[in-house]
Amino acid sequence: MKRTYLGEFEEIVLLTVAIMGDKAYGVSITEEIEEQTGRSVSVSAVHAALHRLEEKNMVSSYMGDATAERGGRRKRLFSVTALGNRTLDEIRLLRNRLWDNIPLRIFSTLQ
């Protein structure tokens, strides 16, 4: 089965969008990822990833409302699409299956 490929960062961004619910936009996603992963992420990288995800129909977006600290500019709010959800599910299933198939001996060393 042909499936859309998701890069590691894309996957993280997509997951973060799913976590954030209806508050997912550039800055909030960046901060969330920084918080969750502890690594420093640039806004532009997040934007690029979101852009790609949107092109792959994993997320959809709409323009939200403006705030003063944004200089009166609106934010683009993202949400995961059905395709995005399914892809995340499939990735998770695949990973789970792979985990399940790891021999116990190795598994324990990993533990």
Partner: protein, 880 residues
């Protein structure tokens, strides 16, 4: 807290950079996010770090997704178009260079056609731009006088009109009488600068109605006083060498000093009112005491009255006013015969006017048509040659189509080729027009300058011409070539054989030759008519006659002058008269023959001359006696036409018959009858004419020289002799002389100009048509090389091959002759209607032009055919 952080802004340059490179549809969210991040950083890390972070953030957005503009397709086609355009040009240039011969023929033909169109446009634009810039122009009209019975409208009107209009035309804002005089001497006091000038008398209303730029003086005060004058800049410099001449005086006719009260800027070339000197109307009272200011019985075209109508008044509404004027001021008979009309200012250039330059709308239309035809011919050349190359291009088109080229891009490809040719041609056309313009304008006597060539309106026309010819010439070949199916284009097949009487290509050749033929035969007939004018028997002898003006016609002076003149061995005879035997301005007089119950009214032309008039001009006396110098004005000679009108057949019967001047009781007696002579130009019939002796109306001297074939040195000596005597007789005057035959030739100047234009256009049209034919013949000979080779191998002679190749073209020329002959016949017949005396159109003109064109076509074609026929078949068959 919000407030304090709000004041801190990210670096401006970074913002600008972002706004510049970021795609507009992404800018808002991106910039918003960066701002939000910045504000937070300010709070957490302080301003410095926040700013640094902001710059890094902006720079990190320089990546493809942010740079890419929204409609991705548009961006790509934009680049594509650029690539395609350069490809079009490259391919087009390659093709044009490959077929250099055709390209040259095309460019040459197009250049000629466009130069022709350009020059004609310049002429037409010049002639149609007269007096259009007057700010009150749409309200200025000329009061013209119409003779209802003659159905002729005259530019001039009665001198009484001015007063009548003041009283009876309340719709007029200003009334502007203008009186033009010619040939008076002006001089500056205390110098010997003397010039003979033409000038006008006008009052203050003239300068208030028409636009003038004042260098000195002003419109309110100028021309209000008698003996004042306005000069143009040119004339101020001519007489005084400076323009600051207010208050200086200039002497008029050696009699009256005129004070200069205004200096105006020179008039533009495109005006029918080229007045260099305007003298106040009231001056006339002192200088010309005989001038009648309120005259209603006779007028002259040099007295014209203009009116400036009030805003919103329409000229058509004023018909009734003028009817009233006729009733109120003129006698009963005038009511049925006289009518006054208002002719708008913009029409002045197309009827007789004071500038002397007139244009003929019909001629301008014909000219435009000729320009268009010549242009069309050159476009047809292009179409012909391009479609002829269909075969050569078929493979290219086929390959392009197979690869996936759209029809549209193929059309662009071919249009680009057409565009390059027309573009090159137009540059060459402008250059050649620029080079030839001075000689053209001097031949045609049109004041067009180089600046007109580069006026923006003209450049606009050039641009339009470029687009129109590119489309006209390019669209058909483009459609035709791009419409081929790739299958047969690549299949090496012949063109699908469609049975047609004439292919389009042939039809175009026919059109070209038809146009050329019409032009040639018209030019030939015009030429014939003009030489007819030169050689026509006028009924008098115009050769070797010098005319001079007479500033003073007191009998004693004239008698002395005459005696001096005839004592010269070179001079045969001298006559003093009102005008020459044939002249442009004439004295018309109504006469009545009251033999029967209803008097016969005859409008006669009055010739006033002395006893030598007949001898000097070589007019033949048929019956009765000649005039004597002591005859009164009641003794006249009549011409045959006058006798016809009287109803008298035999000249001898007319001797002693009486006629009355108009409806008065004054009468005259016919003492002699002269043979008809052309008193007018050959455009008009010979008027009934009476010759009488009226010494106070002698304004001109005619001097008949002894020998008609004088060398130029001899003529110069004779003229110098005459000048010496003249200046001695009329001191303080400027001597001017004219040769009668040259003077009479001026009447046919406009025809001469038309003929010259026609000849030039004809020449160009033929050249272009032959160029096209040459190209086509070249192509066909090239295409049939192999066929000719095979024929020659099988034993065909060179002659038979020549015939084979030429006969197709000859067929076309013959068809063209058949079409052109009736068209040219009709066109010339209507042109000849302009003349009372004209040639008959003879059939041989058409035979001759037909033969000429056929020969020309054969020569053009056989040049190529011969080359093809002479080629060694081994060569032509060997190469594939």
């Amino acid at each position: 807290m919000n407030q304090s952080s709000d004041k801190i802004k990210p670096p401006k340059w970074a913002d600008r950079l972002l706004e510049w490179f970021c795609a507009p549809h992404l800018l808002e969210e991106v910039q918003g996010d960066l701002y939000e991040r910045f504000q937070k950083n300010v709070r957490v890390f302080g301003e410095k770090i926040a700013r640094r972070e902001y710059v890094i953030g902006v720079l990190s957005f320089i990546r493809p997704f942010a740079l890419k503009r929204e409609k991705t397709e548009e961006v790509s086609t934009f680049f594509l178009i650029q690539i395609m355009i350069s490809s079009y040009f490259k391919i087009a240039l390659r093709n044009l260079f490959k077929n250099l011969r055709f390209t040259t023929i095309n460019i040459l033909g197009m250049t000629l056609g466009m130069a022709c169109a350009l020059i004609i446009f310049l002429i037409v634009r010049h002639e149609t731009s007269y007096d259009l810039t007057q700010s009150k122009g749409d309200r200025i009209y000329r009061v013209e006088t119409k003779n209802i019975k003659e159905d002729h409208t005259y530019a001039g009107t009665y001198t009484g009109m001015t007063r009548a209009l003041h009283a009876d035309l309340p719709e007029a804002e200003r009334i502007v009488p203008v009186l033009q005089y010619w040939g008076y001497t002006f001089s500056t006091p205390n110098t010997d600068k003397r010039f003979k000038e033409s000038f006008v008398f006008a009052d203050n209303n003239l300068v208030k109605t028409f636009d003038y730029q004042w260098l000195a003086g002003n419109a309110d005060k100028a021309l209000t006083q008698p003996n004042t004058v306005i000069l143009t800049r040119k004339y101020a410099e001519k007489y005084f060498g400076k323009t600051d001449v207010l208050g200086e005086t200039i002497r008029y006719d050696n009699k009256q000093d005129l004070m200069i009260t205004g200096v105006i800027e020179d008039y533009p070339t495109t005006t029918s009112f080229p007045f260099n000197m305007i003298i106040s109307f009231s001056t006339l009272k002192g200088t010309n005491p005989n001038f009648e200011f309120d005259k209603w019985n006779g007028w002259n075209d040099n007295h014209q009255v203009y009116v400036l109508l009030k805003e919103g008044v329409k000229a058509e509404q004023l018909e009734g006013r003028f009817k009233n004027i006729v009733k109120k001021y003129m006698d009963k008979e005038a009511v049925a015969d006289k009518e006054f009309l208002l002719n708008p200012l913009k029409e002045m250039h197309y009827s007789s006017n004071m500038g002397g330059r007139t244009a003929n709308i019909k001629l301008l239309r014909t000219l435009s048509l000729i320009g268009l035809l010549v242009l069309l011919i050159s476009c047809f050349n292009f179409i012909n040659l391009s479609t002829a190359q269909l075969f050569k291009r078929a493979k290219e088109v086929g390959v392009r189509k197979v690869i996936g080229s759209s029809r549209q891009s193929l059309i662009y490809q071919f249009l680009t080729e057409a565009g390059i040719i027309t573009g090159t041609a137009i540059v060459l056309a402008i250059l050649s027009t620029g080079i030839t313009l001075p000689s053209i304008t001097s031949i045609l006597d049109i004041p067009i300058h180089m600046a007109d060539l580069f006026a923006w309106k003209n450049l606009l026309f050039v641009l339009g011409l470029l687009l129109a010819t590119t489309l006209l010439a390019g669209i058909y070949p483009a459609m035709k070539l791009s419409g081929m199916t790739p299958m047969w284009a690549l299949n090496k097949n012949k063109m699908p054989q469609v049975r047609q009487v004439f292919s389009l290509r042939q039809a175009l050749v026919i059109v070209q030759f038809t146009v050329s033929l019409v032009l040639i035969s018209s030019a030939m007939l015009m030429d014939e008519q003009l030489s007819f004018f030169q050689k026509a028997d006028l009924g008098f002898n115009k050769d070797a006659i010098i005319t001079i003006s007479l500033p003073d016609n007191s009998p004693a002076k004239l008698q002395a002058f005459r005696n001096q003149l005839v004592s010269s061995s070179q001079i045969k005879d001298v006559s003093f008269s009102f005008n020459s035997a044939s002249a442009e301005s004439n004295w018309m007089q109504g006469t009545e023959i009251r033999n029967s119950e209803t008097p016969i009214q005859i409008k006669a032309q009055m010739k006033m001359g002395d006893s030598h008039f007949l001898d000097t001009y070589g007019i033949q006396l048929l019956a009765g006696r000649t005039l004597k110098d002591n005859d009164t004005n009641q003794v006249v000679l009549a011409n045959e036409i006058y006798l016809d009108k009287m109803g008298i057949k035999n000249p001898h019967d007319a001797i002693g018959k009486k006629f009355y001047f108009g409806n008065s009781e004054e009468y005259g007696t016919i003492v002699g009858v002269v043979k008809n002579f052309n008193v007018n130009s050959l455009h008009q019939k010979i008027d009934p004419t009476l010759i009488q002796v009226v010494p106070e109306h002698y304004y001109q001297g005619g001097i008949k020289l002894n020998n008609t074939n004088l060398s130029s040195d001899n003529i110069e000596a004779t003229v110098a002799h005459i000048e010496k005597l003249w200046t001695a007789t009329f001191p303080g005057q400027v001597f001017e002389y004219k040769f009668l035959d040259a003077e009479l030739g001026r009447a046919y100047q406009s025809e001469l100009r038309t003929a010259r234009l026609m000849q030039t256009a004809t020449f160009i049209a033929i050249l272009i048509a032959c160029l096209g034919l040459f190209g086509l013949a070249t192509f066909i000979a090239e295409q049939r090389t192999k066929e000719i080779g095979v024929r020659k191998v099988l034993g065909a002679s060179v002659t038979s091959i020549l015939v084979l190749l030429s006969k197709d073209f000859l067929k076309l020329v013959i068809v063209a002759i058949v079409i052109a002959t009736p068209v040219a016949w009709w066109a010339m017949d209507s042109w000849l209607q302009n003349f009372e005396f004209k040639i008959h159109i003879t059939w041989w003109v058409f035979v001759f032009t037909g033969l000429m064109m056929a020969t020309l076509a054969i020569v053009t074609v056989s040049f190529q055919s011969l080359k093809a026929a002479l080629i060694n078949p081994v060569k032509s068959l060997k190469t594939e």
